[in-house]
Amino acid sequence: MFVTLLKRELMLARRNWVAILIPLFFFIMVVSLFPFAVSPEAEFLQQIAPGVIWVAALLATLLSLDLFYRGDYQDGSLEQLLIMASPTQVAFSKVLAHWLVTGLPLVLVSPLLAGLMHLNYAPDRELLDPNHTPVMMLSLLLGTPTLCLLGAVGMSLSLGASRNGMLVAVMILPLYVPILIFGSAVITASLANSGYNAQLAILGAILLFALVLTPFAIGRALKVAVS
């Protein structure tokens, strides 16, 4: 049943592939605004890169949520899905599909942004040839699924509400704080050439925690939305 649900979500996404690409472009564009706004100096950009990349990833995830929930809610297929399978299954298939089509690509294009933000800048390449890109990708790989899970809670809660664009952000951004802290801390620690395993481990722990608990909350919220 779960595989069927997942296939359905992925097929819908494939047929609407332009809409899926929009969050990705958004991610790249937001990050590339910072050199214009702040300063194009490599040293400086490197310093702000962890925060900028993480905030952009967070906003991109938040803005792409709509695609996976709004349509199904409006045309009534959400109701049919909830009759078909358990709410937790529906919730989990939606989150997984959302991560596969927006979170994973985001992780995959992030090396490009690392280049744009001069993440691997070093004044003297002979002396030091840093490579922080894999660490950044790892932090995004562990963090973006949590962003999808928590975002799904907010999105499904706001489905039946009258105004919702800003509402999801207001509800969910406070909950994103820990992921933002540890996600950017991983990269910052790597930039300082110190150990980043602890931060990565916590990021993973939050992911596991959210993975176990949020599907129930999302399922419950979806049921409330269609009731």
Partner: protein, 248 residues
């Protein structure tokens, strides 16, 4: 034992009835107000006048007597809201959703008082009114959580849906509060460590008024919740007969 647990469940059951609550709370309120007023008179007298001045902070230490109780209640309030949310979702008690809704704005105001007095105290003591420190940041996030809850609850036209959705948010937020607190604590810290009940950490002459003030704030919180809850009952039960007789 069996008897007392029986009477507890009876009381719990009665609390679920808007009519019973509305009629009884009218009798409780004057008493509660009186006790709170007495506590505030004593608490404010001792904390603002009869307690010693701090040898480093001077008189600005007196802000603490407002700040700490407000901080305690801001967190207890969120917890109470989440407990009401669980009771409402599990046992489908009408009153618990009403209580949840009544607590939210009061908790938000206490959180704001906590942040505001903290800033006032920070100017002379730390030389800054805001620092991105663990406790301040998590208190700020707590305020955002309250505001998110209020925003969500008020954006439904169907009250039933609003209650259940907001309840889920309150529970998810409650699980997140310790995580947020832990994460910002490791991230950055300036605020002093916990010392209120630690032995010898604070002078009994300061501790006693602080406890009186915490008690007074607790009661004030309960009173405000009851007052708002009564309004909520009036709001939701306008069509019921007993209320029309009550108000007539």
């Amino acid at each position: 034992m069996a008897n007392s647990s029986k009477s507890f469940w009876r009381w719990f059951h009665q609390l679920g009835s808007p009519k019973w609550f509305y009629q009884k709370s009218a009798k409780w309120l004057p008493w509660l107000w009186a006790i709170t007023a007495i506590l505030f008179v004593f608490g404010l007298y001792f904390s603002l006048y009869a307690s010693p001045v701090d040898y480093q902070q001077g008189n600005s230490v007196r802000i603490m007597y407002i700040h700490v109780p407000a901080a305690v209640l801001s967190m207890v309030g969120y917890l109470a809201m989440a407990v009401c949310a669980v009771i409402g979702l599990v046992w489908k008690m009408k009153m618990s959703f009403m209580a949840m809704r009544a607590i939210a704005p009061i908790g938000a105001v206490f959180t704001f008082i906590c942040l505001f007095t903290g800033s006032m105290w920070g100017i002379p003591t730390w030389g800054t009114w805001w620092e991105w420190d663990a406790r301040m940041t998590s208190e700020l996030v707590l305020l955002f959580l309250y505001l998110g809850f209020i925003a969500l609850h008020s954006s439904f036209s169907d009250r039933n849906k609003a209650d259940r959705s907001a309840a889920i948010l309150a529970i998810v937020g409650a699980i997140n509060v310790p995580i947020i607190y832990g994460s910002v604590k490791w991230w950055n810290t300036l605020h002093q460590a916990y010392s209120v009940t630690k032995k010898g950490a604070i002078d009994p002459q300061m501790q006693t008024p602080l406890f009186i003030m915490i008690g007074a704030f607790y009661l004030l919180f309960v009173i405000l919740v009851i007052v708002r809850l009564r309004l909520e009952v009036i709001n939701r039960e306008t069509k019921s007969k007993w209320l029309q007789e009550e108000l007539a």
